[in-house]
Symmetry: C2
Subunit: 450 residues, 2 copies
Amino acid sequence: MTPRQRGWRAALVALCGAWLAVVMGTVQAAPTIEHWTRPDGARVYLVPTDALPMLDLRLEFDGGSRRDPAPQAGLAAATALMLGKGTQAWGRAPERREDALAEAWADLGAQWSATATLDRFSIALRTLTRPDVLHAAVALLAQQLAAPAFDDGVWQRERQRLVAAWQQAQAQPEARAQRLFAQGVYRGHPYGREATPQTWAAIDGAAMRAFWQRHARVCDARLTLVGAVSRQQADALADTLLAGLAAHGCAPLPPVPEVEPLAQATQVREPFAGAAQAHILIGQPGVARRDPDHLALQVANHIVGGGGFTSRLMHELRERRGLTYGVYSYFVAGRHAGAWTVGMQTKPEQADQAVALIHEVLQRFTREGPTVQELAEAKRSLVLGHALKLDTNRKIADQVAALAWNDLPLDELSTWPARVQALTREQVMQAWRRVIDPQRLVTVVVGAAP
Amino acid sequence: MTPRQRGWRAALVALCGAWLAVVMGTVQAAPTIEHWTRPDGARVYLVPTDALPMLDLRLEFDGGSRRDPAPQAGLAAATALMLGKGTQAWGRAPERREDALAEAWADLGAQWSATATLDRFSIALRTLTRPDVLHAAVALLAQQLAAPAFDDGVWQRERQRLVAAWQQAQAQPEARAQRLFAQGVYRGHPYGREATPQTWAAIDGAAMRAFWQRHARVCDARLTLVGAVSRQQADALADTLLAGLAAHGCAPLPPVPEVEPLAQATQVREPFAGAAQAHILIGQPGVARRDPDHLALQVANHIVGGGGFTSRLMHELRERRGLTYGVYSYFVAGRHAGAWTVGMQTKPEQADQAVALIHEVLQRFTREGPTVQELAEAKRSLVLGHALKLDTNRKIADQVAALAWNDLPLDELSTWPARVQALTREQVMQAWRRVIDPQRLVTVVVGAAP
């Protein structure tokens, strides 16, 4: 039985009669993942596809912004930014300063990027699989990983750009609201740290080199490949890519504490000179991605404020009262409990009314739960939308990298529709009530009428 | 022989020895297009794919902003904006006001949009091909096309949002530079018209209805479908989609004049209070998309300023002089000759030096043409990049709709790499010299040191 056949069987076993037709369309798009751990410790996730002569690759480390030292908030992001700004010589590869490096990528017609999110330091590569291009692209990326220049002169220029953008953001009420909200929800947890001109001033090339040495290690790297490569090719590419990375043993990194639940409700209400709109953010810590209730909470959130025009918040605040053009809610879920956030804008004089209404909608949903019809519509909408999350290799690579990062089962994507369908109204209500407490929300209003 | 086999043969015949290996990778990704004209006059372009249970659809009319009456500049865009803001009852479908319409789309898990570019009024739909969803989505879109509400109250609200965004843009030097540049290149041609609070004030629901009646006509519609549908299904979907559109005969719309070449060079130099950077735009009218030199000009532009870090402008202004973080150039090509534009920002006191250098680079390239190496690298980079333009159904739909709109050959996409490779240095130089005259450029600098 091939891996593809096994994937099909596993998916089919999970299904039951009435929903078969629904889910089939989605299973068709769900990727079959091959997974193995290399002798060097790196975990590989491969989705072989042959429709296009292309490869989408993700390489991930435990080096997200939660690993920033507090006085150097922004270090992970700065390291990601500077990873493409020049490399030292490495093996037979010559030194490549910033522009030469960009030219080398342009010559290959390949695209790469590095980003640091709350949890993860992520490197993405997209390249054709023509042998000359593929191997040159992976070798070039390997040089960047092995011998980044982290040049202090280039960093000073980039730092000035960051500071200029930061200053511009300070003139905007939404940035102020975001900052107050993050402080309220995270209360000092690393997820809530904010980079500022002061913390950027405390960062230099040496700090990036130390961060990179510490976090870019083979032994706990996760490598995802989606595209026209075999397992053997994938392993050969991994050999090249990981060759120059820190091979030191995998002593555990210091644990990051969990986000603590809120003890009580807090309200912050700030005027903001010149704000045409009041910016409202309401929420509290949610759950980690691996939480068993994560899926039920996605369904609940869809009904409350995640489902766009069909959500309760939209119905109440936009359709019935005309208080806003749009209101939304979402969970951020990584290895820790990211914020669950409701956001909207309204006229300054309507801010108090809007806040009261949001609180009321949340209290009522928490008390009564979804209606049978709401639940059915949310499931339908989420299942239909699932296929759109997997319609390109790039999206599949992102989804597989996320499940790899969070140690989720390999059939997470193919069983997702059936698991959504199987959720009962009680499960959704209980999950919601366990996590969201309308009596302990953080409420931030910036730019309200005084 | 199936259409797919015919497509392969046509592509293979176009190729020659040495480049076979290069182009094969791309041909693999090049779509095979079925094309027919319906009895109602609509032209259909179908790319059947079965990898995903999805359909991407484009429907296009001759209703771009070049069709705006001058006192109502912005009418095409306003009509596109308002097409999703509610429908009247139609057949058995009930009236759907703005929010109900948005909810209906959300229930289907389908996405649609309407946009007006310079040439075209374009409607895009993406839906799953599950039969119940597919037919409901196409029927809903058909209702929007047949019976748009164009409600005046909703338009007043949207107009206020447009005006607020416009006012914000006026505080930015780039918007001022864009406007001066468009005036200089287009000199009253409809491609250069700008919507303003005055022209929006002259637009109402009745004007949109008249515009829609006039331009959304079946007889010259072009319909592109990419996805898991057969020709028979495509025709049935077209029946539904086009059922309520104006069926009036296809009397030609009034001709739009061509963009005239510039008679002489012009320079505009404006201070801008508070501008931290000078915004530089330099250019002139280019060519229409159907111009036989379009391809050669793409190659020339890649070398001059289109190729990112490998371009001459980038090398001269960024690498050698450190005058800017980036400088780029591009052609806009529709049914008329859109602008060829060079753009960059620099410190206000360096603006004059930067302008002089850009002029110098252009003069030299026009005089000497590309080097053999530059030409080879540009071809390689463009051919490698071609596959990335066709790596999703959505992108394929956009590319096929563009070739349909411009009456290009159906094998345009599959022969593209071979045609790029076949271009000689002389062809590239001659095309460039025919079109670009460094003695007659429009040069705009906003925010230079006084």
